[in-house]
Symmetry: C2
DNA sequence: GCAGGCAGTATACGACTGTCTACTTCCCTG
DNA sequence: CAGGGAAGTAGACAGTCGTATACTGCCTGC
């Protein structure tokens, strides 16, 4: 069942450990990995054909981790009224608990390897789709057309991922990041509700109840 | 006046050339640079003390480039009514014309070197502040408090930068990216105009003129 | 109980890296 | 015209890298 034998897992975890500090997945060396994992350099070849394949496997590994996190998230969100606030809090908490996976994702999303970039993009795309369908299903913002919800979901996923790095590294800013993310989401959806109105009409509405 | 002597400039431009393909600034080697620049490896030491210092100088170089671009932008925007649309088009056009600088910025913003990250962050912060003050000065969205405008400006600058990579790499998606960016900006500001309203009030407003 | 495959090790090779010292070439200035 | 400093070159150093081949131990199926 568990497809990861000892050495393989050790190497992947070594990679995550190294990346958390000051490295990037693409820049890791085979020997460096083995050293960190406490293994002989050649053991690497027993499990991976090349460093590219290794990178993909690491991505797959953290994708599994993330999926587990998302499952928990959906269970929790179902029992909540103010979905955006709780969801944001939960997601950042999750990132904080998995700094290595988060760092890898952020760093390689725009990193030098096209292969990893594509893999990560489709991963994010899947998460965004899941988020959008969840919102649609639960009719959280019924006044916005489905396509727009998908669009905003994609933006939100990306936005959260970028802020996640700061969230991990700068404890003092965590509250700020959290509330700014809530603002981000709420404003996106509220703004989208007014997509069909002209600039002047929106301004008129905004001033009415100030 | 021009502080860049021949060799120094050659090395920096070599770096930009290499990065555009599949490299990252942090991962460049001294000899690799010299080879690409057609110089002896040791010439590097005549101009830079270390690779870190080199990275900072490259950042400074592209910051100069970007500042020139922003100057042009402000001149142009002053003569325009529909500011967001034209501005977005201009900015992406600019990124397209400077792919190397753009790639460096995106890649190192979350890259492995903390020094470069900090440098880039303050650079972005400055751009965001400039953008926000421009918006306030010209009273483009007078119904939103200044602090919120700054917040949205920061988000927008980051969002555009991220999308810039796709914009450069995927010509087929350029129109989509451009319109999505406009949506992003408009929704943020429109949503912010309704910050003081409750969820149900917003929904009532949204439905009125559908 | 033994054969075969799998995980891990040892050693070695060539290529590449950053850095050092010593040398040459060129331009600018007095 | 002479001299000095800056730019660039040459060669060598120790270290690291990825890779290949050959080896040892262990577990499993027959």
């Amino acid at each position: 069942m568990n497809a990861l034998t000892g050495g393989k897992l050790k190497l992947i975890q070594a990679a995550l450990r190294l990346i958390t500090e000051t490295r990037s997945l693409t820049s890791l060396g085979l020997r460096e990995l083995a050293r960190e994992a406490g293994l002989n350099p050649n053991t690497f070849y027993r499990h991976f054909k090349s460093l590219d394949e290794f990178g993909l496997q690491v991505l797959g590994y953290i994708a599994e981790e993330m999926k587990a996190g998302v499952r928990d998230l959906r269970q929790m969100a179902d029992s909540s009224e103010q979905a955006s606030r709780d969801t944001v809090a939960f997601v950042y908490h999750y990132f904080l608990a998995n700094p290595a996976a988060t760092t890898v994702a952020v760093r390689e999303l725009h990193g030098p390897s096209p292969i990893l970039r594509r893999a990560l993009e489709s991963q994010l795309e899947a998460s965004a789709r899941e988020m959008a369908e969840d919102i649609i299903e639960r009719q959280l913002v019924s006044a916005v057309p489905p396509e727009t919800i998908h669009e905003i979901s994609r933006m939100t996923i990306r936005y959260i991922l970028f802020r996640a790095m700061d969230y991990i590294e700068k404890p003092a800013q965590r509250e700020t990041i959290q509330t700014e993310t809530e603002h981000f989401i709420n404003r996106q959806f509220r703004g989208a509700m007014l997509d069909h109105l002209s600039q002047t009409e929106v301004e008129r509405l905004a001033l009415r109840q100030s």
